[in-house]
Structures are given as C-alpha cells and as structure tokens.
Amino acid sequence: MGKRDTARSSGPAPQLSPVLFAGFALRPLPLALLQPILGVAVRAIHQRHPDIFERLADLDGPVYLVDPVDLPFRFELVPDPDRPSLRALAEDEDVMPTATIRGSLLTLIDLLEGRIDGDALFFSRDLVIEGDTEAVVALRNAVDGAEVDVAADVLARLGPLATPAGLALAGARALFSRAAADLETLRSAVIAPALRRTESHEAAIRGLEEKLASARPTRRARTGGP
C-alpha cells in the first residue's frame, strides 16, 4: 500500500456515499456516453498490461459480469487477448456471464489493484462470486500480477501529453475531462476510507498479536512435558 501517491488529491476527501454517487448519476451520464470512457479504460489497461489478458488465454473465452452493488450500473468484461471489451449494461439487459463478481465499488477496486489476495477473496463475505470459480480465480491472479493502478492507467491515456487517437472515437474531449475529474473525485473518495480502514485494521491486529504472543508461552509450557 506504500506506493500509493495520495498527495495528488488535495483538500478533504469527499465521503464515498450515496450522495456522491447520486451526484454522478444526476449529472446525466447516459450509457451512450459512459461507454466510450469504458472503452478507453479497457484499452488503456490492455495496452499497459497485456500480460493480464495473456494469463487468461487458457480459459475458454470467459465473460464476467461485474456488479458494483453501490453503483447504478453493471459491467460486462470480456478479456479477449486481442480485443478486450468492457461494457456498461442497461438495467434490463440480460447477459449469460461465465462468472459474476458482486461487491461494493471499494471492494472491487481493491481487487483490481491487488489489495485483496486470492484466498482472502473467499474468507470475507464482502465479495460474492457466482458461476465459474476458476474464471474468477484466474482473473484475480492475472490482475494481481499486473500492478494495475486504474486512475494512473486511465489518466496516462487521457492526459494532455498522451492524448491518443482513441480519444477521437469519443468525439467529446470535454466529456473526458469531466470523466477524468470524476475519476479523481471518485478515487480520493475511495482511497480515504481505505486508508482509514487500514489504519484501524492494523491497530486491531497489533492488539490481537500482543495477546497471542503473551498467551503462547503458557500454552507451550503446559503441554511441553514428557
């Protein structure tokens, strides 16, 4: 977690709350406009981390349904090694995914950026997995190996110095600027509680460890005799 550059977001972090998301939802970002952003995001990740897709090549063309329960969208991810796609689904749109991954946006971003490991995935109930478990494990392993930093990856592609041809596809540079700003807002909203959570977590762990450390010698002494 140490590598994260938190200095980038200045000022108090916004609360990751329904209000924040209502804000995103209210500034009308219809699927038609969201879709190009997703396209850029997945191409950015594909370009910067081709090994993710290569690691998934052994699977039989998996389709993932990613369902952030606190967002009004669901996403369909097809990690094709040559032409990956990420698509926001209309509310009434049905897909037949290989696997579904459901959780809060925070949990899903933790997963994407490698803060949740393969086993912990199953120990906590924060993440719900349905369908082909192998496909989910493969995606988790592939992503973990790639050191994805969503905001950095996408911003690198959107930034003024790296304006790729892909932007023309979207046709609306203003929209991307806004999306980038949204992403930063979202990101600081996501990171602040994550950091807070980590700190309190570590305190709790230290307490537990101290207890364990003091309990252990007694236990051994009692059972160590001939």
């Binding site: 109930r125 997995i129 192998e134 493969a138 190996g145 790639a146 364990l212 450390a213 051994r220």
Partner: protein, 334 residues
C-alpha cells in the same frame, strides 16, 4: 579462548505466483523466492498464476541483481508416458540460471542428477521425507542438498533429525497448512479427478461452487458439500481437509479448522533445532500479502540473528479465518 563460528542466519524463502509477487518478495527482504512454471509441473498449477520462460528469466535477473536466489518448484509427479514437460522444466530452470530446483519425484530427481549434475537440488515437501533414513536416501541417490520437511514433525523431532542427516532442512513457518502428509493425499482427486500429485492442484477452482441459500453460503467441491456458513460467518475456500463434516451425528472440523500456520514466535527455537531455511507458503496469494508477510518475517529473522526477541506485526489479518496455529510443531496438534 575458542569461539564457535556464528551460525549462518536463517534463509527466508518466499512465494511468488507472478512476477509482481516476485518483485514484492525481493523488495521486502526475501533471501530466496520460489516459483513454478505455468503448467502442471508444479503443485500450484492454478489459473492465471505462475511464470512463463521469459518471466522466469526476468525474475531471475531481478532477484540476482538484488542478491536474492530463485528456486524453481517442479514438484508434481511426471505423468507416465509423458515425462517431457517435467524434463523440459528441469532443463529450462538449469539453462535460465535458477539457483535450485525443488523436486518431489524419484524419477525426476534421477533425471536432474544425471542431466544437470551442477544444478542444485532440493527435495520438495511433496516427497514426504519425514525421517532420517528417507532423507539420507534422497541425499545419497540424487545429491539432494536440502529437504523441505513435511508439516508433520514436532520441533523436537526436527532437532533430532538435523543431527542425523547430511543435508540442510527447510520448514514451513507461515501460511496454508496441509493437514495430511503432503504428496500422499488423494482427497482432491477422489472428489474432482484432479490432484496435487498428478495435476498440481488441490481442490481446483474449476470444481468449486459457491451457492447462496437464503442467508447461508454453501461451498461445494464437485458434488461434495464442504461447508455451510451462516450469515456474517467468515467463509473459507472449500479445501476438502478444512471442511465441516459429520461423524457420529456431530458436525465439526474433524481434520482441521480453517486456520493458518504461524510460528513466528518459535523462530529462536527452530534456529536452535538446526533449521537452515524458513518457508512462507502462498504462491496463490496476492503480492500485497507476500509483501506484508515477507516484511514481517524479515524483521523477525533479523531479530533472531541479533539475539533479540521476536515481535510480530500485522500477520493475523492475513491468515485464514484470522486464526493461526503452530500445527505439528507442537505435539498436542496430533
């Protein structure tokens, strides 16, 4: 006045399932990193995990530049009639400059000893060499230099063993705990057809099913219900030996609770028992996990080397179900 030479410091052997995890382990202070190729030649043949040849070459370069070693696990049992992938794995590990290979199969150890006599050979825990006679056999037959001890021995037994064998010993100190003698367990293939020995996967994800039944989460492996978790209860990956079963009308974790091995506080004792290297389990776990555990153990091992007390920071959150055990190292576990 005579001085006894200072014992060599304990070697910290750390897992890497991906190049990112390898870098995380090396950066966090690993002395050695162990890993496998992306196929059935190693016992963590999980989807999306492990190294291709180019990644191994890069990983070895990264580790060597920073003074760390790379050990390649080729620790499944070659398939009859098709030893090629296993032989190539040994050949490529040798050619790419791996510091050692970790082997379990007698035939493969024989191949490695004959074909690459200069390639250092370690005996995998999967070989289940649990006594001096067995270890001496692997030493004299195949020139094994180090044995990874099965997780079935007590510290007293390890100390006694170390006085009677001509090779180094490496033991597991943290991570997932096999309850059964490793390499001698067919529970997974009994239920899925795939086993650690043949296929490099125990309780493979391809056969895992999670099912929400109301508030209850049911975990299945193949057709077998391995556990049910009430709402709010931490769930586990459905490894068969960590499941909940019924004997004489009573449900219990008969084999083992969902718990992780952690013996960080026993390190001084283990050092006195003559152990040479400490192994952290978890090639299937993420790079964040690897970084945290390796850093904690680096501190602990350095403290032991200075004769200072060992402190533990931040390991419990990384253990299965948040619970830990000293496992077989304490006799009462049996």
């Amino acid at each position: 006045m005579t001085t006894t030479p200072a014992p060599e410091p304990l070697e910290l052997v750390c897992p890497a399932g991906t190049p990112a995890a390898l870098r995380a382990a090396v950066d966090a202070g690993a002395d050695s990193v162990y890993l496998g190729f992306r196929d059935e030649t190693n016992a963590r043949n999980f989807p999306g995990l492990n190294f291709n040849r180019r990644e191994l070459a890069d990983g070895i370069a990264y580790a060597h530049q920073r003074g760390a070693k790379v050990l390649v696990a080729i620790n499944t049992f070659p398939k009859a009639g098709n030893p090629g992938p296993w032989h190539r794995a040994v050949d490529d590990a040798a050619d790419l400059g791996a510091d050692a290979v970790i082997l379990a199969d007698i035939g493969l150890a024989d191949y490695a000893a004959r074909t690459h006599p200069d390639l250092r050979r370690h005996l995998s825990v999967q070989a289940s060499a649990s006594n001096a006679e067995a270890i001496r056999f692997y030493h004299s037959a195949f020139g094994i230099k180090r044995v990874v001890l099965p997780r079935v021995l007590t510290v007293a037994e390890i100390a006694s063993l170390n006085s009677r064998i001509p090779v180094e010993t490496e033991i597991f100190v943290f991570g997932g705990l096999c309850v059964m003698a490793e390499g001698r367990c067919a529970l997974s293939s009994y239920v899925t057809g795939l086993s650690p020995n043949k296929d490099g996967a125990c309780s493979p994800a391809s056969h895992v099913h999670y099912e929400e039944q109301g508030d209850t989460l049911v975990t299945r492996l193949g057709d077998v219900t391995v556990n049910r978790f009430a709402s709010g209860e931490p769930a586990g990956y459905p490894t068969l030996c960590k499941g909940r079963y019924v004997t004489a009308g009573r449900a219990s974790y008969l084999f083992e609770e969902p718990t992780s091995l952690s013996v960080v506080t026993m390190l001084p004792e283990l050092a006195r028992a003559g152990v040479r290297a400490l192994k952290i389990e978890g090639r299937q776990r993420g790079r964040a996990y690897v970084a945290a555990v390796v850093a904690a153990f680096r501190k602990a091992v350095d403290a032991v080397a200075r004769g200072e007390p060992v402190s533990v920071d931040g390991l419990a959150a990384l253990t299965e179900g948040g619970r830990e055990t000293a496992g077989a190292y304490e006799k009462t576990w049996r």
